[in-house]
Symmetry: C2
C-alpha cells in the first residue's frame, strides 16, 4: 500500500500540481507522480484541462506508473490521454494491466485501431481480452478478471502452496478455485483453509463444494446484489457448461454499486445516465438533458390548454389563478417522494415486484393523510391570503389539494412499478414524468372542482 | 458458502413460507430455515406481518441460525423479533455474533435492558461491546470489527502460521496486522506474503510499513470513500496514539455505500433518511414526510400572494394564467437536474468544493442554452395554444421561460453547495427546497416581465 492522501490534502496536492504545471517544473511533477497514490492523481486530473491531463500522463516515470494511473482514471480522461499515443507505447503499458482493464480501454478506440492494438499485445493476453470484449456491456463476462488462481481438484495441499508461491503478486487472490479435468468449477478453498490443512491432502478433500456462480451474461447489477447480500469477496463466472472463466471481485462490486447509484440518481432527475456528465461541456450537458425537459414542455402546454378551456370560469373568479402553483407544487413534491421511495426500493430489492398493490394503496393512504392536513390548512388560509371573502373558495382549494396529493402519491408509486413491469429501468426520468403527469392532473382536477362548486 | 437463492426463486420461497405459516406446518418451516441462506430468509421476512416474523425467528433450529439471521435482518425487524425474548436467550445467541453486531443490537434496547444484557454476555466480549458502543453513531469506531488477527512484530513466520491455524474460522481475515510492544500498529502482512515467506523470518522483516488507517471518530462515509478509492479490503482503526483497535472490512463498506446512497435518495426527495421507510406504517410515513411538504406549502402561499399582487394585470390579460404551470414546471425540472448532478458529485467526490464557481457558471450556461431553445418554442407556440393574437404575449412567455430556466440551474447547483459549506448534508431536501424556490422566483419573474412588456 502506497501512502495515500485525503480530503484537505487532496486540495494541497491539486494546487501544488497546478502551480508546477504553470511553471513547467517537469522534474518536480515526475517526482510527485512517483510518490503519490495514482488514485489521488486521477482525482486531481479531473479538474485540469485536457492539455495538462496529457502532460501529467506523459510525465509518469514508467509504464507501470502509467498503467496504475489508467486503472484509476475516468473513461473520458483515458480517451484523452491515450488519443495520440503510438500502438507500441500503448501495448507496453498494457503489459502491466490485467486483461479486463485492457479490454475496457481497447473498447474506447475506433475499430481499426482496436485491431492494431490487439495484434501488438502479448499473445496470452490477446485471447483473454478478445473473450472479455465479446460479452455484452455491463454483463458479468465483461467485468470479470481472468487473473485467478485455479488448480485441479487432485492437486495436493503441498503442491498448491508451491503453486501459490510462484503465482504473480496479486491483491485479489481470496480463494483458490478448484476445477475438474474438464475445467469445470467444482469447488473453492480459502487461503486460510489451504494454509491450515495437512500437506498430503488433496484439494477435493478440503474444498467447499456448494458454490454460487454467475454466468457470463448475468447483469452486473445482479452480480453486485449477490455479492452484497451474501457478503462474498468474489463471485466466480462460468459458461453454460459450468466451465470456469474468471471471477468478479468485491472491489469491482464496490465500483459497480457506486456507479449504479449514480446512474439512478441522474436518470431519476432526467439527466441521462452519463456518470461523467460533470466532465462534459455545457453543450453536451444541454443535449443530454434537453429530451427530458421536453416532458415538462408538453405537460406545460397541456396544462395551458386546460386552463384556457376554463377561461370563462377564470374570468369570473380571477383569484383561482393564485392557487395554481401551490396545487401543482405540493402534488409534485409528494409524488416525487413516493416515486423516490419506490425506485430505491426496487434497486435495493426492498420492493416485492410480485405484490405491489399494498404498496400503492399505502402511498395513497399517506397522500390522503397529508392531503387532509395540508388541504385543511390552505383551505382555511385561502381567504386571508387573497383577501377575498368568497364563500366556498376555501373548500375548492382544500378539496383540490387533497385530491391532488392523494392522486400524486398513487401516480408517483405506480410509474416506476409500471416501468419495471415493462422491463424499463424504473429510474428513467421518474422525476420529469411524475411531476409532469401531476401538473396536468392537478390543474384539470382543480378547475373541474371549481367549476362544479363555484358555478351554480 | 451455503446454497443461496435468487430473484425468481425468492418469490417461490416467499409463497412457500406464507403457505406453511397459514397451515402452521412448523416442522416444515424449521427444515427450510435449516437449509436456506439466512440472507434470503431476512429478505422474505420483510413482507410478513410482525406476528409471523416472530414465529419464524422462534422456529430457527439453533442459536447459531438465529445469530446468522440477526446479522441479515433490518433493524426494525430485529427490534420486533427480540422484543420479548429473555436476557438469557439473547446472550446465548450473542455468543455467535461478533462484538460489532452485539453492540448494534444492544443499542436498540432501552437502557435498563442494555445493562442486563451486558451483564449476561461473555466477559471478553463485554469490554469490546462497551467500547464500540462508546463511539458516536456512523463513526469508524462504531462500525469496526474487533475480531482481527494481530501479532507482535517479532513473531516468526512459522509461529504466525501456527497462530493462524488456531485462530477461529473467519472469512474476514485478509491481512495480519503487526503491532509493536505498545500495541501500536506498525505494519501489515497479507496471508499470501505470510505463506510464501521463509519460516525463520520475523514479521517486521516482511511487513508493509506504509499503511493507511482511520481513527475511531472518522465518519463511515469517509471510510467507505477511502476503501473504494484505493481498492482496500479492510481499513485498520486506531486511536489518537496509533494504538490498533479494530478494522472496517470491505463487506461492511459495501453495505455503507448502499445505505448512504439510499439515504441520499430519500433525503433529496424530502422523505427523511430512514432507509426502512417501506417497512413503516402510513402514519409514520406521513409524519416523516410532512415537514418537507411544508416547504411546498409556504412556497405555494408566497406564489399565491405574488399572483394576487398582480391581480389587476391578470384581470386585463387573463391568458397569462394559462402559462403559470409551464413556467414553474420547466424551471423546477431543469433545477432538479442541476441539483442532482451536484449532490451526486459531492457524494462521490467529483465536485471540487474549493472551486465551485466554474460549476455554477456552467450550469447557468446550460440553463440559458436550454432556456433559449424551449423559450423560443413555447414563445412561438403561445398564440396557437391559447388561440389569442395578442402581440408580445409570445415574447413575455419566451423571455420568462428563458430567465426561469437560467436562474433555476444556478439555484439548483448553488443550494447543495451552500448546504455543504455550512456543513449540512447537501442531499437534505434539495428537491423540495429547490423546486419551491424556483416556483416563487419563476412566478415573480413572469408577472414582472409581463407587467413591463404588456402594460404600456
Amino acid at each position: 500500500m502506497k501512502k495515500a492522501i485525503f480530503s484537505t490534502e487532496i486540495s494541497i496536492l491539486r494546487s501544488t500540481m497546478q502551480r508546477l504545471l504553470r511553471r513547467r517544473a517537469h522534474s518536480n511533477i515526475t517526482k510527485i507522480l512517483r510518490n503519490t497514490h495514482q488514485a489521488d492523481i486521477a482525482l486531481i486530473m479531473r479538474s485540469l484541462n485536457q492539455f495538462d491531463q496529457k502532460k501529467i500522463f506523459a510525465l509518469c516515470p514508467t509504464s507501470v506508473h502509467k498503467a496504475r494511473l489508467l486503472e484509476e482514471l475516468d473513461e473520458s480522461l483515458i480517451e484523452n490521454v491515450l488519443k495520440n499515443d503510438s500502438v507500441k507505447n500503448i501495448s507496453k503499458i498494457f503489459g502491466y494491466l490485467d486483461t479486463n482493464d485492457q479490454a475496457t480501454i481497447i473498447g474506447m478506440f475506433p475499430s481499426n485501431k482496436q485491431e492494431e492494438i490487439l495484434t501488438a499485445i502479448e499473445h496470452g493476453d490477446k485471447e483473454d481480452v478478445e473473450e472479455i470484449m465479446s460479452y455484452p456491456d455491463d454483463s458479468a463476462g465483461s467485468i470479470m478478471t481472468k487473473e485467478t488462481f485455479t488448480l485441479n481438484q487432485n492437486t495436493t495441499v503441498k503442491k498448491s502452496i508451491e503453486k501459490l508461491q510462484s503465482f504473480p503478486e496479486n491483491d485479489k487472490i481470496f480463494y483458490l478455485y478448484v476445477l475438474d479435468n474438464k475445467e469445470k468449477l467444482v469447488g473453492v478453498v480459502s487461503l486460510r483453509t489451504l494454509v491450515t490443512s495437512k500437506n498430503s491432502k488433496k484439494l477435493r478433500e478440503i474444498m467447499i463444494k456448494d458454490i454460487q456462480a454467475a454466468t457470463t451474461s448475468t447483469d452486473q447489477e445482479e452480480v453486485a446484489k449477490k455479492v452484497a447480500q451474501y457478503n462474498y469477496l468474489a463471485l466466480p463466472v462460468v459458461n453454460r457448461k459450468n466451465r470456469f472463466l474468471g471471477i468478479v471481485t468485491i472491489d469491482d462490486v464496490v465500483d459497480i454499486i457506486r456507479e449504479e447509484a449514480s446512474e439512478d440518481f441522474l436518470q431519476m432527475a432526467g439527466v441521462g445516465k452519463d456518470r461523467e456528465i460533470l466532465l462534459k461541456s455545457p453543450l453536451e450537458n444541454a443535449k443530454s438533458r434537453a429530451p427530458w425537459i421536453l416532458a415538462s414542455l408538453i405537460g406545460g402546454i397541456c396544462a395551458a390548454a386546460i386552463i384556457s378551456y376554463f377561461n370563462s370560469l377564470l374570468e369570473q373568479i380571477i383569484v383561482l389563478a393564485a392557487f395554481i402553483p401551490v396545487i401543482i407544487g405540493i402534488g409534485g413534491n409528494v409524488g416525487t417522494q413516493s416515486s423516490t421511495i419506490v425506485v430505491r426500493g426496487l434497486a435495493t430489492g426492498r420492493v416485492d415486484v410480485g405484490n405491489t398493490f399494498p404498496l400503492i394503496l399505502k402511498e395513497l393512504i399517506v397522500g390522503s393523510l397529508l392531503g387532509l392536513v395540508y388541504g385543511s390548512i390552505i383551505g382555511f388560509a385561502a381567504d386571508y391570503i387573497t383577501s377575498t371573502d368568497m364563500s366556498n373558495l376555501g373548500l375548492v382549494i382544500g378539496l383540490s389539494i387533497f385530491c391532488s396529493m392523494a392522486i400524486a402519491t398513487a401516480v408517483g408509486a405506480s410509474v416506476p412499478i409500471i416501468l419495471k413491469k415493462f422491463d424499463f429501468d424504473p429510474a428513467i426520468s421518474t422525476g420529469p414524468f411524475v411531476t409532469t403527469a401531476i401538473d396536468i392532473i392537478g390543474v384539470a382536477l382543480y378547475f373541474f372542482i371549481a367549476s362544479i362548486i363555484l358555478i351554480n
